[in-house]
Amino acid sequence: MLQTAYVVAALSVFVFVMLKLAPGDPAVIRLGKEVTREQIEGERRELGLDRPIYVQYAIWVGNLVRGDLGVAFTNNQPVAPLIVEKFKRTVPLAFAALIVALVVAIPLGIIAGIRPYSWLDNVVTAVSLFGVSAPNFWVGLMLILFFAVRLGWLPTSGYGPPGEGFEFKYLILPAVSLGTSMMGSLTRYMRSGMLDVMTSDYIRTAHAKGLRYRSVVLRHGLKNALLSVVTIITLDIAGLLGGAIVTENVFRYPGMGQMLVAAVQARDYHIVQAVVMLAAVVYVLLNLLADIVYAYLDPRIRYD
């Protein structure tokens, strides 16, 4: 855990410095094009951007310790409630996409793994390659055009009816769009894991013992093949919780990704720093979870 704290602290310094080194000035973006240099300087003073970088960092850390993430440069909105609001929206999307991906990827991966180089494997390979290679925005737009505009079954975008709260049907298309690319890679990993496992000695032994084929695949094969998949899932979820940038933009889903892109473009240091910190913590926690799941899946793994 101490190591984790070091990583997070180092990351915060790195991101802070990189943002400052990038061209562009938040004061300028905040004021717009039609201002004078004097107004820009005044705004920089107001925002504290005229101070040395280490002073700015120290102030930011001091505020962070007190739970104050500051206000967004771009619109003066308090950052902490903003992050909470966006995170609350990103979590259902991330998990819904994961479910979509797992529901398709695991059965397909198993089928392809136990029948390698068959026509079934070829079909699965084609499907998974489509998932991996089709650009997210294209899949999203196609889903919108077909299911929302043409058939009218689902809403095109948003999080709920305009001006109101969340509705489940608004989650379906972005989840499918996001889940499609995850499904592609997970299917490939699942297939590869199953291929490895199904040619191993203990599987041959299980067959020799006369166990039913289904039992060999699901009890003995699947569990071991899942080890690599768990790693990928962990990384994918962590990435998604940091924001599914393209999908959120196409579906106007107001989550972390959409906010992060806007904040980076506007050099909104307060928001970017807060999101990076949150993403780092989520990463660490999910890695911890992955370690625990490894131990469940493989009895040989023990953390003393």
Partner: protein, 586 residues
């Protein structure tokens, strides 16, 4: 044992699914509760409105811009207006607003001292019921409306108005452009609770176009800091909710002073930021929004042909024009011969057809043909040989090729296309090479618009050396007021060779004669004096100095369903919120 482990895995996966579902369901429950509250509140609001409509019959005031509205007046049925906007707002605080995205809530939440008639050339009563210009030509006396209250119930008086001037012209002077249109206002005072006097330092022919500013905000709301989360104004709508990146919700303000205006407006308005163009179009076609902003030119035909949708277009003067701007102080474009060569090399007609699909009016004259000050001029023709000859004269040839850095404005693919056509056009000259560098907004502001302090560059009026990295860029100017001064002055003026350059003068252009002509044009109402002054400015820009190349006028388009009616557009391309109305029957 193994069976148990498999079960544990399945339970783990199930838990993940459950967690996602619970997160959704929990939010739904909260939303349902909020919805119930909203329904109850709406019922109360409806009752109050019935009373207001009755009262309105007694106290109805007839105003210039109300006449048309009264003819089509209908009972105020509940309605929802959903706007798909091409970006998110910048500030709820209207004094700090700096982008076109702030126009919606700016005009709905906050009133101004005057409004404009549908020709957009004459001021009509707003928060001020009348005004007079004293014979000295610099003193304006306004009579203020007495039945105005803020959304929090506080009455509005001249003291509030004075505070708004204090904030914009003094307190925010170095932090916002709020006061920049009021630079001529030297003193503001209140002879009575509903009287206001403004003293200008000199006569300004376009002052009444700016007299509405600043928008009326509430002192207590601003000083408490609540303005950034719950802004209060005197406008026809009151603030309900803003979630950045998601929505801005406003609802009718039942105590609004203009009951006739209120009666034909939707109960609620929701502004939805939808930066992705295809998403906006899909949402409009699917009936999820009523109106979309910034229709791309390649989608105009499709939307126009779609049943149940209409295109909203500018019919009057368009104060919007597309240009190539040039870095007149550094690099190859500092040489006027090179700038003139660019003007000869650009194929405006090709751009007009390929990028804007024939919409807009190709011209080199900055003044639009529908404006009274328009004087036709002969534009330099496309002539590659002439361009090459000018470049040769400037010292460029096969042995000394001309390298041009083109940095398009970000966030609109149209600008990149312009760069591509420009590159193709100019590279028809063998020894010219154009590099297009695509950057994000923050970087563009540094490299093109404001520049950065550097060792090499051009000194500004403070003695700082400012370097701009671009040679050529693009600028889509959309100006207010609809007067030749408003159209051009912030683009072409500067205090001296070294600035300060006005807000839209990214070229760092200065010409003493141009400055004098602008001063002359602004000092009189006599169009016989003004028109030749502006014609001369155009002539200098097109034929002598060429700091920019106007390609064409840029009409704006919105698309809407049939709920939106009578939606005129202002000359600077915004829907006139005061003028359009809403069909509740659809």
């Amino acid at each position: 044992m193994r069976k148990n482990r498999i079960r544990e895995i399945l339970v783990g996966l199930g838990a993940l699914a459950l967690l996602g579902t619970l997160a959704c369901t929990a939010t739904q429950e909260v939303v349902k509760e909020v919805e119930v509250e909203k329904v109850v509140t709406q019922e109360v609001v409806k009752e109050v409105e019935v009373e207001k409509v009755i009262t309105q019959e007694v106290i109805k005031e007839v105003e210039v811009d109300r006449v048309v509205v009264q003819e089509i007046e209908k009972p105020a049925d509940p309605g929802l207006l959903r706007v798909g906007n091409n970006g998110d707002i910048s500030f709820l605080d209207s004094h700090r607003s700096q982008s076109g995205h702030d126009v919606w809530h700016g005009s709905m939440l906050f009133d101004t001292l005057v409004f404009y008639d549908r020709t957009y050339t004459t001021a009509i009563p707003g928060l001020a019921t009348g005004w007079t210009l004293q014979p000295n030509g610099t003193t304006y006396d306004f009579t203020l409306r007495q039945d105005v209250v803020y959304h929090n119930g506080e009455p509005w008086t001249s003291a509030d108005r004075l505070w708004n001037y204090d904030r914009c012209i003094v307190a925010l002077k170095e932090k916002s452009r709020c006061g920049t249109t009021l630079l001529d206002v030297k003193e503001w005072s209140a002879p009575g609770p509903y009287e206001l006097r403004l003293e200008l330092d000199k006569f300004n022919v376009v002052f009444m176009f700016h007299a509405g500013n600043p928008r009326e905000m509430n002192k207590g709301n601003v000083e408490s800091g609540d303005v950034d989360t719950n802004p209060i104004g005197t406008g026809a709508y009151r603030f309900v909710e803003y979630i950045p990146g998601d929505r801005l919700v406003m609802e009718k303000f039942v105590n609004y002073w203009d009951k006739g205006f209120l009666a034909i407006r939707p109960e609620r308005a929701v502004i939805l930021p939808m930066p992705e163009t295809q998403t906006r179009i899909a949402a409009l076609k699917a009936g999820e929004i009523d109106l979309m902003t910034d229709v791309p030119f390649n989608a105009l035909e499709d939307l126009d042909d779609t049943d149940g949708l209409q295109l909203l277009r500018q019919t009057g003067i368009t104060m919007s024009y597309m240009t190539f701007i040039m870095n007149t102080r550094e690099g190859p474009m500092a040489d006027v011969r090179v700038r003139k060569a660019m003007q000869h090399a650009v194929n405006k007609e090709a751009m007009h057809n390929v990028i804007w699909f024939g919409h807009g009016e190709v011209d080199c004259n900055l003044i639009p043909s529908k404006m009274w000050a328009y004087t036709p001029i002969t534009c330099p023709e496309r002539d590659i040989s002439a361009a090459a000859a000018l470049l040769n004269e400037a010292g460029y040839n096969a042995g000394n090729p001309l390298k041009i850095k083109y940095i398009p404005e970000p966030n609109n693919e149209m600008f990149v296309k312009m760069g591509e056509v420009f590159k193709q056009n100019v590279e028809e000259i063998d020894f010219v090479d154009v590099e297009i560098e695509v950057v994000d907004t923050a970087t563009w502001l540094d490299k093109v618009w404001f520049g950065v302090e550097a060792v090499d560059g051009w000194p500004n009026h403070e003695g700082k050396i400012i370097h701009k990295e671009y040679d050529i860029g693009d600028a889509w100017y959309t100006r207010w007021p609809p007067d030749p001064d408003g159209l051009m002055q912030s683009v072409l003026r500067a205090g001296s060779e070294n600035g300060p350059y006005l807000g839209n003068n990214g070229m760092r252009y200065y010409n003493a004669e141009v400055e004098e002509l602008f001063d002359l044009g602004k000092s009189t109402l006599d169009k016989a004096v003004r028109k030749p002054a502006y014609a001369r400015i155009v002539d200098i820009v097109v034929n002598e100095d060429v700091p920019l190349i106007k390609i064409q006028s840029m009409p704006r388009f919105y698309a809407a369903n049939m709920k939106v009616r009578n939606a005129p557009m202002t000359p600077n391309g915004y829907l006139d919120f005061r003028a359009w109305d809403y069909d509740f029957s659809r």
